[in-house]
């Protein structure tokens, strides 16, 4: 449908950015109740391996495998979420890291899914972009409804102060589990989409660095509003491409302009600066992360800001 007017490079770029955005929502769901997980890559791995086994070994259609992967990731999410109820902060972070590492060890030592050689020859899904767009739209609708529902308000209350929320009669255990399982299921979707787009994965594909990147999207974009994860993922995925585009423009500068030594030095510096390989991209992410935390610890977009865009609505709320 869409590949007619997009070249292959842009297409794959959009697809992976979209998968990143979905993964960002998987972090956002438990984060709404104040649970910070660095194990979302582990849930992506569960979804990816489950769906790939379903399509490759059992010949299931992709849509069914996608749902299966999300379901299993969600169930495992609830199981992991149970112990996560008792612990928070640093401890939860460590627990989720531990979970993701155990998943990775299992993927490495399980010969049925390729072991250390990796899972090869996964069936390519030609409609990933359509799936990605559809899922992002659904997620946006879902989270926008959630924000105005009693469940969403209960989640905010738990995020603010768990004890106070419990005193107010909110079923903290149920809601935190729900949020954790939901996040895991969304991660499962992202993983399944990834597996059938890349057609190859191994035990290091869904590593802690990926989990950190997912966290960065949400934290930079803004964790207090449902637009934040999408905004963060879009911004940070577009950033290196914009610089790449600038570099291509730079190539168009006529040689005569850079004949003087000073201009030549400036030109060379600019060209190197805009040459954005992976390491430089991650350094830039790191700097953006630190600067964001210093100046906007709530992220670039906040719910209050978005409310100001709708003056009538915000007045009604404060009346």
């Amino acid at each position: 449908m869409l590949d007619g007017w997009l070249d292959g490079y842009t297409l794959s770029l959009l697809i992976f950015a979209g998968i990143n955005a979905i993964a960002a929502y998987s972090f956002f769901a438990p984060f709404k109740t104040g649970q910070v997980s660095l194990g979302q890559a582990g849930f992506m791995a569960v979804g990816a391996y489950t769906s790939a086994i379903a399509t490759q070994k059992f010949g299931m259609p992709f849509a069914a495998a996608l749902v299966l992967g999300a379901l299993l990731a969600g169930i495992i999410g609830v199981v992991v979420g149970f112990p996560a109820l008792r612990i928070k902060g640093v401890y939860l972070l460590l627990l989720t890291i531990g979970f993701a590492e155990i998943i990775s060890v299992i993927a490495m030592s399980w010969e049925y899914v390729g072991g250390a050689q990796g899972f090869r020859g996964i069936r390519y899904n030609p409609f990933t972009l359509e799936y990605v767009i559809g899922i992002i739209v659904l997620l946006l609708l879902f989270f926008s409804r959630l924000e105005r529902s009693s469940l969403g308000r209960a989640m905010d209350a738990i995020h603010q102060d768990e004890t106070a929320a419990e005193v107010m009669g909110i079923d903290v255990v149920r809601i935190k589990l729900l949020a954790f399982g939901l996040g895991a299921a969304i991660a499962g979707l992202a993983g399944a989409l990834y597996a059938h787009q890349a057609t190859f994965m191994d035990s290091t594909t869904f590593n802690i660095l990926l989990a950190v990147e997912i966290l960065v999207f949400v934290v930079v974009g803004g964790g207090s509003t449902y637009w934040g994860p999408l905004f963060g993922a879009a911004l940070l995925n577009a950033f290196p491409e914009v610089l790449r585009g600038l570099r291509e423009w730079l190539e168009l500068v006529p040689a005569a302009w850079t004949s003087s030594h000073a201009m030549h030095v400036i030109y060379g510096f600019l060209r190197d600066f805009l040459d954005f390989e992976n390491a430089k991209r991650l350094i830039a992410y790191g700097i953006i992360l630190i600067v964001t935390m210093i100046y906007r610890p709530n992220g670039l977009l906040t719910r209050e800001q978005l409310r100001q865009l709708h003056p009538s609505r915000s007045r009604a709320r404060h009346a």
Binding site: V36, P83, R86, I87, G89, V90, Y91, L93, L94, L95, I97, G98, F99, E101, I102, V105, I106, M108, S109, A116, I208, L209, V212, L215, V216, V219, N278, A279, K280, L282, I283, Y285, G286, I287, I288, L289, I290, M293, I294, P297, N298
Partner: protein
């Protein structure tokens, strides 16, 4: 065979303990998970490598140099990524140090490439046979340096004025400040000590594996976190004991069960400890009780 494995485990554990000690010191005074510590360890290893290759210093020079360089990096890190960040958002300092991790790791990738770089032989490897046990001079050196460093740190914390100030700050910032402790200075010094020790640990790791890589910090960071938790957050002696313990468990499970399962066991220990005894093996207070 068993004794041999025990010695190997002790060796591995000593390097875990060195990383974890820094973590736990920093956690103690700031009540904050400082994510970039593993990358300081990596920078220390590269600093040691460069000192050996280009400054022509011996192994002791490399150790001292890496210690100083890492202490300075710790000083910069705390001023760039920790102190400017508001404490009102509990997540903010954690995330900014994750940012610092990314900057340090990828700067190393940019400078040295993503491959492992060989660490030259600085100590002649001689094997000593003590009955059924074989131990190399490199291993002896690593063990001696690690144990000396930990004993010195322990003496410093228990018996000097600075050590007392660090303990008071870890107990409670306000009370310590009221009693005349310059809390800011103590935090800085603690960061420098922890980072310096991590630098030494990095060089030792480089010697042990005869190579350093920009990605060595991540593994060290995660293992260091497990050890810190096992020993109890902020408990320096606990971290030392737990480091050795984890090293021995890993080596034994690798020897008797299988090498791919080695990490599985350390993460299993992590999860079990989190669930049944978040205070660590020695019953230190948990994070909630501290704050």
């Amino acid at each position: 065979m068993f004794c041999q494995q025990l010695i190997n485990g002790l060796m591995l554990g000593a390097s875990y303990a060195l990383v974890a000690v820094g973590y736990t010191l920093i956690f103690g005074v700031l009540n904050l998970l400082y994510f970039a510590h593993g990358e300081v360890f990596m920078v220390g290893a590269f600093a040691g490598l460069f000192l050996v290759l280009y400054a022509g210093v011996g192994i002791f020079g490399a150790l001292v140099g890496a210690m100083i360089i890492c202490a300075l990096i710790g000083l910069v890190a705390v001023n760039v990524a920790v102190r400017p960040v508001s404490k009102d958002y509990p997540l903010a300092p954690l995330i900014s140090t994750i940012g610092l991790t990314m900057v340090l790791q990828n700067s190393a990738v940019l400078m040295f490439g993503g491959q492992q770089v060989a660490f030259p032989e600085t100590i002649r490897q001689e094997l000593y046979h003590l009955g059924p046990i074989t131990i190399g001079s490199v291993q002896v050196f690593i063990l001696v340096v690690a144990i000396t460093l930990m004993v010195l740190l322990w003496l410093m914390i228990e018996h000097t004025k600075l050590g007392r100030a660090i303990r008071a700050t870890a107990e409670n910032h306000e009370t310590a400040a009221l009693l005349g402790v310059d809390v800011n200075r103590v935090v800085l010094v603690t960061f420098m000590i922890g980072s310096g020790i991590a630098g030494v640990a990095g060089v030792l790791d480089g010697i042990k594996n005869s190579g350093v890589s920009p990605f060595m910090g991540l593994g060290a960071a995660v293992k260091g976190l497990i050890v810190m938790l096992l020993g109890g957050l902020g408990n320096v002696l606990g971290a030392m004991v737990a480091g050795v313990l984890l090293g021995i468990v890993e080596i034994l499970s690798a020897a008797y069960i299988g090498t791919t399962q080695r990490d599985f066991f350390s993460f299993l220990i992590l999860i079990v400890i989190l669930l049944i005894r978040p205070t660590g093996l020695f019953g230190t207070r948990t994070m909630e009780e501290r704050s």
